[in-house]
């Protein structure tokens, strides 16, 4: 990667310097819900993620990690602040997400180093 393209990449995330990593796996009773109920909840939680993006968060992807981890997926986010990350998480908690998915979260701050 050239320094120019690297700088361009960094420009898109400079206002979102706070990392939020979210590890998740379904709790057992998630599997007892019928498909309609699961879909309904997923739509609600997806809307919350969309709202976070509209408020400045950058979603960098969901990755499957079950093969070598206690959790099934990890979501990588960048937020303008830790408080923004908290607000997003609390919206998910209010929408019942944490009752159906076990989780482990991490907060981090961009070191400013480039690749």
């Amino acid at each position: 990667m050239t320094s120019t393209s690297n700088d361009t990449l960094r420009d898109s995330t400079d206002s979102a310097r706070h990392l939020w990593m979210h590890y998740a796996r379904p709790r057992p009773h998630w599997y007892t819900l019928d498909e309609t109920r699961q879909k309904g909840l997923n739509v609600t939680w997806h809307e919350i993620r969309s709202q976070a993006k509209q408020q400045g968060a950058v979603f960098q992807g969901r990755f499957h990690i079950r093969g070598q981890h206690d959790f099934e997926t990890v979501d990588i986010w960048r937020f303008p602040s830790s408080q923004h990350a908290y607000d997003h998480w609390q919206a998910l908690v209010n929408a019942g997400y944490s009752e159906y998915f076990a989780f482990s979260n991490s907060l981090g701050l961009d070191t400013g180093e480039t690749a």
């Binding site: 709790r27 830790s82 009752e99 907060l107």
Partner: protein
């Protein structure tokens, strides 16, 4: 700030502390190699701690019970019974200050001395004094816990009944003269959901109090980790070898 569960007879929301963050740490001393961690690093850490105090941090949980208590940072000496050597809790003005403060400490020299797990969260419930003041605040007990799958599957009525049962145990803790610095939530940055910090006269008090929690089946709905330690000035605990 939102609390993960509602107020109980023992625990009340701490509206005055809205937005205030907690910084929890467990740390293990690293191998001593010549020149890696010296007096200059300790002094740099102490300078950062002094700055944090000026910026509104609370570095001694004793100050949550007694605003006239010394400001100097304290931590638990835990190496005699835990894999980590020290543990402790600070309060920061907000989440972002909390995260940045841990990095400032690490970069001042903390990282040269300790391998540390930092846990950052937000205050929920207000401090509560135990019945009957005890005068030796030299011991403390930290509880980290998370609700398990059965709690998540339980109905609101089952959770309310559980909270009432746990309140009996917490009332028992207060009867043991335990002072509790309320409750903070850690779920935004960890797998633990909560932390509680108790001042206790001695480790036996923690053991006795936890038996009370077992009696009301506190642990049917939680996974927890408990840390007991002697409270000492942090300046002593970060001395070079």
């Amino acid at each position: 700030m939102d609390n993960l569960t509602g107020d109980t007879q023992v625990f009340q929301s701490d509206d005055a502390a809205a937005g205030r963050a907690c910084v929890v740490f467990t740390a293990q001393r690293q191998d001593v190699l010549p020149g890696v961690y010296e007096a200059c690093h300790r002094d740099a850490i102490l300078e950062v701690l002094a700055s944090l105090e000026q910026e509104g941090w609370v570095l001694s949980q004793r100050r949550l019970f007694d605003g006239a208590a010394p400001e100097a940072a304290v931590a638990l000496d835990t190496g005699f019974t835990h894999s980590h050597d020290i543990a402790g809790i600070f309060e920061a003005p907000n989440l972002d200050a909390a995260l940045e403060g841990t990095i400032r400490l690490e970069q001042a020299g903390w990282a040269r001395r300790f391998a540390t797990e930092w846990m950052i969260g937000l205050r929920e419930f207000a401090p509560i004094m135990g019945k009957g003041e005890h005068h030796d605040h030299g011991w403390a007990f930290i509880a980290l816990w998370e609700w398990n799958d059965p709690w998540c599957e339980a109905t609101p009525a089952e959770r309310d009944a559980y909270d009432l049962e746990c309140d009996e145990a917490f009332q028992g803790d207060l009867d043991h003269s335990v002072n509790i610095t309320g409750r903070s939530r850690l779920d935004v940055g960890h797998h633990w959901h909560h932390i509680g910090y108790w001042e206790i006269p001695d480790p036996d008090t923690a053991d006795s109090a936890i038996r009370g929690h077992e009696r009301v089946a506190d642990f049917k709905f939680t996974t927890s980790r408990h840390i007991v330690g002697r409270v000492r000035p942090l300046s002593q605990l970060i001395q070079p070898a």
